[in-house]
Amino acid sequence: MDTMTLDAAGQTAASQPESAEREAVDTNTSKTVGKPFCDDAKMRMRNVNVFYGETQAIHDISLDIGCNEVVAMIGPSGCGKSTFLRCLNRMNDTIEDCRVEGELTLDGEPIYGQKVDVVPLRARVGMVFQKPNPFPKSIYENVAYGPKIHGIARRRAELDEIVENSLRRAGLWNEVKDRLDQPGTGLSGGQQQRLCIARAIAVSPEVILMDEPCSALDPIATARIEELINELRENYTIAIVTHSMQQAARVSQRTAYFHLGRLVEVNDTETVFTNPQHELTEAYITGRFG
């Protein structure tokens, strides 16, 4: 098996023969099993540590998110997956006491650089949250808001085009094209979530972060969003946190398993769900006592 291990210095090393590697797996070290890195990384994270005051929430995590790839992050509640996701567009900045260490880059440029303005950063790295949170404005305004404040569209015609395109790509256009002036909050939960996705893609982001985007949705709306994620992958890089393992298995190319603030295993999704290499991953995805 083509496994790579990550040593303390965050460098890749060709793995030992599998048997040796399996014995070497120690649940108390921060070694990540599998393939945390890729050749065409859009975002590179190295030795990331996150603290909330005195408490360390993330321990020395290194991970790449590749271009046109969906990376799923799974793990029990409190394992740090959402915290890690929120580091990727500096959403943690809003939390007092939260400190992020390590090297995080987008296209090779540091995300946490002194001169980095988070507003354009968040336009490049968009986010969709667990609960659909449309603005209390019309459907049109929800999507048009971002392009307006980022100065992407100057004329009404341009804006109209962006709104239509975004809604089309989010698979919502046909359902709302006749009532664009009605409030976004009047849509169903699944439609609201797709509206939030349309809002996220309206500013042409390069990366989309999704934090349990389907946990408040019914199975049909969930299937729509998953279908959408699959289509969006052609143009965007996507990182998704999910509690549904079947969802991770369906939408992602690589799956990362987090446990107690550590990244235990990252592998091709296929491998993680049929033959995980770490016993903690196995225990989690099969519903055993961890």
Binding site: P17, S19, F273, N275, E279, T281, E282, G287, R288, F289
Partner: protein
């Protein structure tokens, strides 16, 4: 990684998995009995025992179908992953091989009846006994290896199949020579050849079971000569 199928948070899931494994091993026991009885019926010219083998085939078919149904239900209800998923897949694949072994045992039983009715000198019986012992041992060892999740035992048993294949080819050559020397024996000897063929197939199915042990424990699919996928050991 060690195999633990009794540590799910859902106790019902533990029981479901334990139960399909037990069902499969019970079916394996029945099938092994069928093979032993069919060979004994032949050696002892015991038509009654051969008839019993033929009657028992229905039971084995029923068990295969029951096992498939239970496995399907587990997939529908639990969406098993990782070792659980491999457990369900391997059990259904093995059930299929066991059912085929049952079919081969029935063929041997039918031939035993035909040869007993004809009743004359048992040419080729030594070879039959020899190969029968080898494949019966393979089958028992394969099921044992599954019970104990023992990849090493499975790999050892798996290689036994080469010897069986070689013994089979040698026996066929000898019997062909014999038929050329004594054409009156042809119809009888062909029945003996069919039996050898069935026994050789049983060896192949036992080998398949061993491959499923490897798949279950290591997650490597080594069927069709892909032993290289198994890097460990």
């Amino acid at each position: 990684m060690e195999m633990h199928f009794d540590q799910h948070i859902s106790r019902q899931f533990n029981e479901d998995l334990e139960s399909i494994k037990t069902e499969m091993l019970e079916m394996g026991g029945l099938v092994a009995r069928q093979v032993a009885d069919a060979v004994d019926a032949l050696s002892n010219a015991d038509s009654e025992l051969a008839e019993k083998v033929l009657r028992a085939e229905e039971e084995i078919d029923k068990r295969e179908m029951a096992l498939d149904e239970h496995a399907t239900l587990i997939i529908a209800k639990r969406q098993p992953a990782a070792s659980d998923l491999r457990m369900v897949m391997s059990v259904t694949r093995i059930a299929r091989d066991l059912e085929r072994i049952g079919d081969e045992a029935s063929k041997v039983a039918k031939m035993a009846i035909a040869l007993t009715d004809e009743g004359s000198s048992p040419r080729g019986y030594t070879e039959i006994r020899h190969i029968a012992n080898a494949v019966r041992k393979m089958l028992n060892d394969a099921l044992d290896a599954y019970t104990r999740f023992d990849v090493i035992a499975a790999m050892r048993t798996l290689t036994e199949d080469e010897k069986v294949d070689m013994d089979y080819r040698t026996a066929v050559r000898e019997l062909i020579t014999y038929m050329m020397e004594d054409p009156r024996s042809i119809s009888r000897v062909i029945n003996v050849l069919w039996i050898l063929r069935s026994l050789e197939r049983i060896g192949d199915h036992a080998k398949n079971i061993c491959e499923q042990v490897v798949y279950l424990v290591e997650g490597a699919d080594i069927r069709h000569g892909h032993e290289d996928k198994l890097k460990t050991k």
